[in-house]
Symmetry: C2
Subunit: 103 residues, 2 copies
DNA sequence: CCTGGTGGTCATAAATTTCTGACTTATTGC
DNA sequence: GCAATAAGTCAGAAATTTATGACCACCAGG
């Protein structure tokens, strides 16, 4: 249980960036919903009260970029898109559960 | 490895609040330094380039409130204060290390 | 007595994030 | 043809976070 790995390059905190990616007003909530079932843009808008298109759109993009969600075109004709949790995303679940037990 | 615990009360994400407490521009960096050694206010100001009194002061208060740091008066006469990592804080280290391996 | 360090607070300014409302392209149902 | 849904984008406003500079009280050294 060394803490050396936490102290890589002088002056920069690796966790700082990670947390930044995971924070943002709606990202944790989006992530949680994605753990339960695939997401659709319009569905999120209805499920997450107080949220808005703009921010959700950005959050989905960012979660995709980190590799936690994957954008899947189910049908292009009557446009149907779904956001699926990736392997990486599933790997994050136990970490979050552990976080809850500590704090 | 159920995800039920992540889905407590409808509409609220437990992790959302936790991440909010851990995020903030300098909190992760402060935490990391605290893992290495006890902190002093003026020391932080020198170590963390680009930070400022106000924000550090607030961050320390918040980290104290969550219970990750403890404010210790070493000497009152020539005022000497230190912020020590708590048990809870130490418990967080492996979680952060796990986070790094995933993302 | 003057300068410098420690440990802050306070009001305000600047920067960043989030929200609002309008608008887009394409498809289905009536 | 008209309205509705899906999945967004865009510009600008509002809210939240972070930074700046001034200021306080206390102690120590020269």
């Amino acid at each position: 249980m060394t803490t050396r790995n936490l102290t890589q390059d002088a002056g920069t905190c690796p966790v700082q960036g990670l947390l930044k990616l995971l924070s943002g007003k709606w990202k944790p909530e989006i992530f949680r919903l994605a753990v339960e079932a695939p997401l659709r843009f319009s569905g999120l808008l209805r499920q997450i009260h107080g949220s808005n298109r703009q921010t959700l759109s950005l959050a989905l993009k960012e979660l995709e970029e980190i590799g936690l969600l994957e954008k899947v075109v189910i049908k292009p004709k009557p446009l149907h898109i779904e956001y699926h949790l990736t392997e990486k995303g599933r790997a994050l679940v136990p970490v979050f559960l552990q976080l809850e037990t500590i704090l």
